[in-house]
């Protein structure tokens, strides 16, 4: 029998600290698989964020760097400019990238830094206990929005991919989801493309991945996947917003 699926060499053997059913584990694995398939584990440098995935440096089997909250794209910029031959990626959540790190991500994209950003959007702050994030949906309850998010008071949820796709420096922008097996396969393809674009030296690439947070959404993991599909997909449409061909 041929092995069709086994643990990738891109991950260490450490057990993830994530809650049961948290799709961070899936996304970690996809990034690690892509790094292994592109044979760049030896020259990859990841930048971990602050948030649930703060321990990402323990899980990826490549060089990793920790950044201050939201500043991963700035740290990645430095690494890529000093070591242009390395493959640099940031792994950030929505509290990290879409809130405190908005300036860094916009200007990294604007400068066309040749890095890849994996943006995990689960519409809530996970690690700190379920506070409202810029990406929290209207009506969605959070510890700091106990009656649900109110557009009048907090504005509409931030669509990061749409926003970044208006910037010339961002060469690859795609939104994908991990709520079922076929979408997970599509997510892997998008991540691979983003890394290939970096390897070709074309510019900045970001993959926004819709993810679940069963614990802070107050659901079982299965309800979480369903909630993502029914509530997040209509507001955050999946698809490619920008590929290098379109830019020229």
């Amino acid at each position: 029998m041929a092995v069709v699926f086994d643990r990738t060499k891109g991950l260490t053997s450490k057990i993830f600290h994530y809650c049961p059913g948290c799709t961070h584990g899936v996304i970690h694995r996809l990034v690690a698989e892509v790094l292994e398939e592109l044979d760049v584990l030896g020259k990859a440098v990841g930048v971990a964020p602050v948030g649930c995935s703060v321990f990402a440096y323990d899980y990826f089997n490549c060089d990793m760097h920790e950044a201050a909250h939201g500043r991963a794209p700035a740290v990645a910029t430095g690494i890529k400019r000093v070591h242009p031959d390395s493959v640099v990626f940031t792994y950030q959540g929505d509290g990290d990238l879409a809130s405190i790190g908005t300036a860094e991500i916009i200007h990294a994209a604007h400068r066309g830094e040749k890095i890849t950003t994996i943006f995990v959007n689960n519409a809530i702050y996970g690690m700190t206990g379920g506070q409202m994030a810029p990406t929290t949906l209207i009506g969605q309850k959070a510890t700091t929005a106990p009656y649900g998010r109110d557009a009048e008071h907090c504005g509409m949820p931030l669509k990061v991919s749409e926003m970044l796709s208006t910037i010339d420096g961002a060469k690859f922008v795609e939104r994908v989801s991990v709520h079922n097996a076929s979408n997970i396969r599509k997510t892997k393809k998008a991540i691979k493309k983003a890394f290939e674009i970096q390897l070709k030296g074309e510019g900045f690439g970001i993959v926004e991945i819709l993810s679940t947070c069963p614990t802070n959404w107050g659901m079982t993991p299965l309800e979480g996947l369903k909630w993502l599909e029914e509530n997040m997909l209509p507001y955050y449409p999946l698809g490619n917003f920008r590929t290098p061909g379109e830019v020229e």
């Binding site: 029998m1 041929a2 092995v3 069709v4 699926f5 086994d6 643990r7 990738t8 991950l11 057990i15 993830f16 994530y18 809650c19 049961p20 059913g21 948290c22 799709t23 961070h24 584990g25 899936v26 694995r29 991990v178 079922n180 097996a181 997970i184 396969r185 069963p214 079982t220 993991p221 299965l222 996947l225």
Partner: protein
């Protein structure tokens, strides 16, 4: 018609009992083992009727904790 035969191996002590794998199996053979508790304190996922497995790797694809290894053989 070529028939695929699969074999899945669960590293049960890594399982956190989230049940995501049970939703994606096209032949519905992945279930939670309610009779056992693993080292982490969860009921681990397991497979009943391994003969039915087609080795599609959907379960491994959605598993957030990389618990599952999949092997496959195509019979002509």
């Amino acid at each position: 018609m070529a028939k695929a035969k699969g074999k899945v191996t669960f590293i049960e002590d890594r399982c956190k009992g989230c049940e995501l794998c049970t939703t994606v199996c096209p032949v519905n053979i992945v279930v939670m083992n309610r009779d056992e508790i693993n080292i982490k304190g969860y009921h681990p996922a397991t497979v009943i009727e391994m003969d039915k497995c087609i080795g599609c790797a959907n379960c491994a694809m959605i598993c957030p904790d990389v618990v599952i290894k999949v092997e496959r053989e195509i019979k002509k």
